[in-house]
Symmetry: C2
Subunit: 378 residues, 2 copies
């Protein structure tokens, strides 16, 4: 005890004298604060500002904040349902993150402050939070892609117990991001590890390996993990990515099947993805119809004309699940998804179609993942 | 080709109609821009601002930016040496990150924009960048700590080739963070994976496993990976962390030695850490003098009085390396480090003492890691 006290005193003295680690805002500001009724209060100290607003997906438009004592601006929402929410402040027209909240995520090139709210067990927000359940491992691994001529990075989720059961063989779900995304998108924005941990702990999903590669063929890795510092954009993945990802997918599967203890075959292999990744999943199922027993298109950028024969080949291989999820307001993508669905229905091909509110947003893709993962490998 | 074109057009149409993925600033602003002479230009569009400044570790104090066309403020530094630099903007007194730069890191509760500059191969900045060398794996794993009564998260670096050589046994370096840090600190702020990849590729460091646990005994994990959303602070780790980490360290080593193919024994086991982690490393070497053959104190919060006998026991076990690194301006910590060094020298104990410029900063800790890692397991 004496020793601890000594060190404590020494630490206090030391840090007051020479600390140059960032000490955080140290302002005593709490933001966001989740209130007992599940309303949320945002706070920002900005004594020189004339106008401060908060913009987030908890409400449409921009919300005016009110200045109080000490130049602290506040805004309190209505009570909210369980969800992962995104927001930012606008200070005299300048967008900024919440300096009192370390939690944020990056979508393409934009960082946004976030918080999760769990109104009750089992709501959406609950699945995105960390609970006291067994946790899987999230690894950032590099594999060689001779087809693309480069080393590439991917994120791999292995479920709790994987390392302790080297003789068990696990099914694999290849999960693909959208245009402008990278191998961190599903684990960060998508909360994949949390969703999988919670579903598996509840017995609602089978333990599985989730492989999240980088789907932009000319990028090795996410910003910070790649050779050159770069600013990701949406545009840079529009052209060849689908075809190049189709071509090089064997490199990914070869790496996974040789480095993990994997149950092989279509009954144990799923592919799914959002937006561009949905398009890639659709194309991969056409290119390799006997490889994937489960296919998920999450707001997938798909079109049917010219691909009817390829769809026939997909269903000739009798996939266990062909799942299409799309938002009601995602007009073009919804129209094309419905055309795909109707073609299948007319042919007697079993497809599962799920329509949610909203459009082309991560809030939907987390839900689609939560639903789709429960249907796999059963 | 036709198919690619069709999908490209469809994507373009779709995104203009319904995209709600964040599209990035889309402003055409490039910031920071590294110029051919290794000066760096910062840019921020802030047409309504009266005063815009940039503050960073490339220069002392705050630098005034100049407004140009379209409300874009700029500042260009002098030519810089290779390094990882941190900076932020100050817009009419309000601190903000650079919205044109996705690269940032978090120290305790503060996010800061960053960039690396590699003036020439082998300079400091070069080691922090990703190069075309074999890359190790960075995993976020959970282990059970019965001693602390909770599941806890740690970050583990395994070197390139580890997975392909299951019969090879690798030495282990336990690398500990400072007060207010967590299991992400060394991999993010410390660029551990990049430093190790580059040193190993150059043949300057042995392939080794680097284990980065969470050294705050009552936190399970970093913000976002932990059960409760929380705002990390410096203060919360000042009291019991050293003793609790000493007590519970066997849980960490047991997990590593049972889940990785590890070369055991003091000759294959190192411990080192920064600030509070240096204190913990010092204490761990005293508690388990035969366990660690290599000990590194990076600006370690250490003191000698009352621990002379424990130091004698450490050196009775003949460590292969006892390394002390500290900054010239880190006054109290330097004074105590020198006292420790002088005690050892008077006793004839071999210690290696390294003094750098500066004080208690990550810039020094990355350098200490780069130096220390080259001396291990040889």
């Amino acid at each position: 005890m004496k020793r601890i006290l000594l060190f404590t005193l020494l630490l206090a003295a030391t840090f007051s004298a020479s600390a140059q680690q960032a000490l955080g805002p140290g302002s005593g500001i709490v933001s966001p604060e989740i209130n007992p009724d599940n309303s949320v209060t945002f706070r920002l100290r900005a004594p020189k500002a004339v106008r401060v607003q908060v913009r987030g997906d908890f409400a449409p438009g921009v919300c005016e904040m009110t200045e109080g004592q000490g130049g602290v601006w506040t805004y309190t929402t209505a009570p909210l349902e369980g969800e992962l929410y995104s927001y930012n402040f606008v200070v005299d027209g300048q967008r900024m993150l919440d300096p009192s909240n370390v939690h944020m995520n990056r979508d393409v090139a934009t960082w946004t402050s976030i918080f999760t709210l769990s109104a009750k067990q089992g709501d959406k927000g609950w699945y995105y939070e960390v609970h006291d359940v067994p946790h899987g491992t999230v690894s950032h691994v590099w594999y060689d892609s001779p087809i693309l001529g480069m080393k590439r990075r991917m994120t791999v989720y292995t479920p709790a117990g994987y390392e302790d059961n080297p003789k068990a063989k696990y099914p694999v779900f290849y999960l693909l991001h959208g245009s402008g995304g990278d191998e961190d998108a599903w684990s960060d924005l998508g909360r994949t590890a949390q969703i999988m941990d919670n579903l598996i702990a509840e017995g609602k999903a089978k333990p599985m390996i989730v492989v999240m590669p980088n789907g932009v063929y000319f990028n090795q890795a996410a910003p910070g993990a790649a050779i050159n510092m770069f600013q990701p954009t949406m545009a840079n993945s529009r052209s060849q990515s689908t075809e190049e990802v189709e071509n090089s997918f064997p490199d990914i599967m070869k790496f996974i099947e040789s480095h993990y203890h994997v149950a092989k075959g279509a009954a144990n292999t799923a592919v799914g993805g959002l937006s561009m990744g949905g398009r890639q999943s659709c194309a991969l199922s056409m290119r390799y119809p006997k490889t994937f027993g489960y296919v998920g298109l999450f707001s997938g950028v798909v079109e049917l004309p010219g691909h009817e024969a390829a769809m026939d080949a997909v269903f000739a291989a009798k996939p266990r699940l062909y799942w299409i999820g799309v938002g009601k307001d995602d007009t073009n993508i919804r129209n094309n998804s419905i055309k795909l669905k109707e073609y299948c229905e007319n042919k007697g091909y079993p497809v599962t179609y799920y329509e949610s509110d909203g459009a082309h947003i991560w809030r939907n893709w987390r839900v689609y993942l939560t639903i789709f993962a429960q249907k796999l490998f059963k």
